[in-house]
Each structure stands twice: as C-alpha cells, then as structure tokens.
C-alpha cells in the first residue's frame, strides 16, 4: 500500500504491507531508530511519537492510517543543540539505561502542549480552572510512559522545570 509520511519535515513515499505499524515504518523502513519498541502493545510508551500534533503510541497504529500525516520523532527535536526539554533530562538525570527516554521526551513534549491548551487531567481539582504543572499533574499525565530503571523523580523534575520555564 502506498503511504506518504512527513517525518521531521521530510516527505517519504513508501510502499508498505498493510500490517506495518507506524513504529515499524519509522524504525525499519526509514531507519529512524530513536523511537523504541518496548512492549509493542501500548502499555509502556517507549514508542511515543507526535502525529498530527498529538502524542500517540506508534506501536498501536498502522502506517497506512497516517498517510499524509506530519510525524515528529525524537530525531526531529534538535539539530546541533539539544532542546530545553532534552537538556533538562540530562541535567536532572532523567534516565539510566535510556531506552524509554525518546518516548518519555516525545510524550512530555505532547503533554506540555496539552497543558498549555488547558486540558484538565484525572488529578485536576476542577475541570474549568487553570491547570498548573505540578509534580502530581505531571506524574498523572505521564503515566503512559514506564521507566523500568525507575528514574521517575528525575524525569518529573526535568519536565516540571521545562514547564515552568516556558
């Protein structure tokens, strides 16, 4: 099946089996291996990318369903210098083995956008009030990203610092 993916600003024309997930298209066909395959069932968040402006699990979507979509992967977040969010992950030791990190960072980026749009979360006291980045809000909103090294304190601090600085 013919599929066009616009990844990190570049268009790619692919001819894929309908079964190819967005994750496998990125990793195996476009050789963008920054995005990681963890559980491959949408439970760990290692495969998180931004598609059409929203963070999603790329393992639970088919490439063919994203024909023409704009996709951002971790490779698209910086050129020579790290982005503020990436630098904060380094500064706060938001990783140990690093396998979940690209997914954490893409998820955090999408999540910060959701915060700025005023989306409430499960832990927000009211549905209509302003949402402020707090440790509790970030933990809830990042619950779709697991870190088996359990670097959550550093991950949370890095995201909180980025949210407060923006």
């Amino acid at each position: 099946m013919k599929v066009t993916l616009n990844v990190n600003g570049a268009s790619h024309w692919l001819d894929l089996d309908t079964r190819v997930t967005l994750l496998d298209a990125l990793r195996d066909h476009l050789k963008l291996t920054g995005t990681k395959k963890g559980c491959d069932h949408g439970q760990c968040g290692a495969c998180t990318v931004i598609a059409g402006g929203r963070r999603i699990n790329s393992c639970l979507s088919l490439a063919a369903l994203h024909d023409g979509d704009e996709i951002t992967t971790v490779e698209g977040l910086s050129d020579d210098e790290l982005s503020d969010l990436q630098s904060a992950f380094v500064a706060h030791d938001g990783m140990q083995c690093g396998y979940c990190t690209p997914g954490q960072i893409c998820s955090a980026l999408g999540m910060l956008g959701e915060l700025s749009e005023g989306w409430p979360s499960h832990v927000s006291e009211t549905l209509d009030g302003p949402v402020r980045p707090t440790r509790e809000e970030i933990a809830e909103r990042m619950s779709g990203n697991l870190c088996r090294c359990s670097c959550y304190p550093g991950i949370n601090a890095a995201i909180l610092e980025t949210a407060e600085g923006s």
Partner: protein, 324 residues
C-alpha cells in the same frame, strides 16, 4: 498479524458497503483492534479506515450534544461543553487509559472495545468469547478483572470502558448507519447484549452497521461524580467504578442515575437502584439498601468475591459525596 486489505473510502455509505462482509472490520483509532490483531485474537481479512469520514465533530442540538464517532477520547474530555454540562463524562474519560491512548482512541471504538480478560487474549486457552464453544478458562483460572453482574456459565468477561459507564448514567444513545444508508438510534441500554450462551455477540450491531455518533440528552442532574477504584493510581482498568448523575430538591433525591464499571459484562445500570433512591432523603441506611439491591443477583467466584463489599463501599462513598 494475519494479512488484510485496507480501504480508505471517502463516503460513509461506501465505508459501510466495504465492511458488509463477515470478516471485515472498521478501524479508526485502532488502539484495541491492532493489539488484538497482533495477538491474532482478531483476524479480519479487510479493514475499512473510517478516520477521515468527517465523523469527528461535536455539535450542540436541541436535545443536547451529538458526538461524532471518531472524536478522540482526549478531545471529548477537553470539550468545554462536556466539561460544563456533562462533567461526569470528562471525569470518566480522564480516568481511563493514558494520554497517548486517549489521543488516538475514539468514541465509537471505546464503546466497542473488547474485554481485557487475560484468557480472551491468550489464544492457547479456552474462551467462549474468542472461540465459541471452547469453554471458559477464567471460571477456574485467575480472576480479578472479571464481572460479577450479568455473567453466565459461559463467560464472566468484564466490559472495561470508563467512558461508556458515564454515558449510561447520562442516558446516551448511539446513532447507527448501514450499507443501505439507513440510520437508526439505539439507547445504550439496548445496545449491548448479555453474554448468555453467545458471549461472542456483544452488541446488537448488524453486519456492516457503523456507529456514526453518540447522542447525549441534557443531563438529568447537576450533581455529577465519577469515582474509580483500581490497582494503581493511574493507567489501570477499574476494579469498581461508579458514575452518578443526581438532582436534589428540598433535601430529597429528585433524580438518580447510577452506572457502574468493573462489575458488569456490559457498562452496568440498574433501574431498581435508581428507583430506590429517587424521592428519598439521603441516609446511610438508604445507601446500604442501594448496595444490597445492586448486588442482589451478583455471581462471584473466588477471585471476584471482593467486588461485592468493594462495590457497596464505593457506591456509599459516591452517594455521600453527591448528595452532600
């Protein structure tokens, strides 16, 4: 994953025609279907992509709200009209899944998501829902995320949705469209089937029929609460959840609509519970009675016996909060 064809029709009628065959399925968000296809629990030979049919709008009408079938769970939860007029729905959506999944999962797909019974997912075990007539491994297996209401000797699989629980308390109905272009409306209370001897048939959808929208009437109560109890604080299915939509008048309960997750083979609502509460003054004795009525036909197994006391306690806590 088994091979399949995929079409991306641009019109609704074409989408329904493409999906008229037995081995065909609609796909929008795909967060549950693709997972099940990877495990070969679902093996459709044809998928019809309905994500670009323009079914992603939310409109206000004279009756209430019309939610397009492919509106994502995120967009629905964040919609200001929903947050103001149907807050129990926002709360239920935000209590479910993860941020990434809510960004992809759709309204229609959420209603039609399959159970998370581990034996349904494990193709090496018996499951009457997955392989009719093969038996039910859950009956003598590990039980926890299983139903105690509406079960049968053939299946104790739980309906996992949070969203649908809130929608039942809100008297939602689904709008359906078939390959001939015929459309019909079905109340959510008549949409799902009990498992009985055919747990593989979960709804009254006809072949090729597509959910095009969900209709929410104006809420029958201004007091709305969704409480979810689960094994971890976030990103877990409900052990028990309660959606409550209430209106108080002169110290009495004028309108009560209670719906339950984590307990039933379908998003559960019991008219006798609502009837018991209406017209009454809130009291612990009343809440206890409501719990007894809710659980009167519960069928428990070793692993699910905890849900009777837990369900009663969560119901009491919610009723206290919503009538205070």
């Amino acid at each position: 994953m088994r091979p399949f064809d995929l079409t991306r029709p641009e019109e609704l009628s074409a989408a329904c025609r493409d999906t008229n065959g037995e081995n065909a399925a609609f796909i929008a968000g795909g967060t549950n279907l693709i997972d099940l296809m990877k495990l070969e629990v679902e093996t459709p030979g044809h998928l019809t992509d309905i994500s670009r049919l323009g079914l992603d709008g939310i409109e206000t009408d004279a009756q209430g709200l019309r939610i397009g079938a492919t509106v994502t769970n995120s967009d629905l939860a964040a919609d200001t009209r929903v947050r103001e007029g149907w807050p129990v729905l926002s709360r239920a959506l935000l209590a479910g899944a993860s941020g990434q999944l809510r960004n992809k999962a759709t309204t229609g797909g959420n209603l039609l998501q399959r159970t998370r019974c581990p034996y349904f997912y494990d193709t090496d075990t018996a499951c009457n829902k997955r392989a009719p007539g093969s038996g039910c491994a859950a009956l003598k297996g590990e039980q926890r995320n299983h139903a105690i209401l509406g079960t049968s000797d053939h299946c104790i699989a739980l309906h996992p949705s949070d969203m649908a629980v809130a929608m039942r308390a809100l008297d939602a109905s689904v709008e359906l469209c078939d390959a001939e272009g015929e459309s019909r409306r079905v109340g959510l209370e008549k949409f799902y089937r009990l498992p009985g001897k055919t747990p593989e048939r979960e709804t009254h959808l006809r072949p090729g029929e597509l959910i095009t929208a969900v209709h929410l009437p104006k809420a029958g109560g201004d007091r709305q609460v969704y409480r979810k109890v689960r094994d971890r604080a976030s990103y877990a299915f409900a052990l028990v959840s309660v959606a409550a939509v209430l209106r108080m008048k002169g110290g009495r309960i004028a309108h009560a609509a209670l719906a339950f997750g984590g307990l039933g083979t379908q998003p559960w609502r019991d008219p006798e519970v609502d009837a018991l509460l209406e017209g009454e003054t809130p009291s612990q004795a009343l809440f206890d009675k409501a719990g007894e009525v809710l659980m009167r036909d519960a069928v428990v197994h070793e692993g699910t016996a905890f849900k009777v006391p837990l369900g009663k306690r969560v119901l009491t806590a919610v009723l206290k909060e919503v009538t205070a």
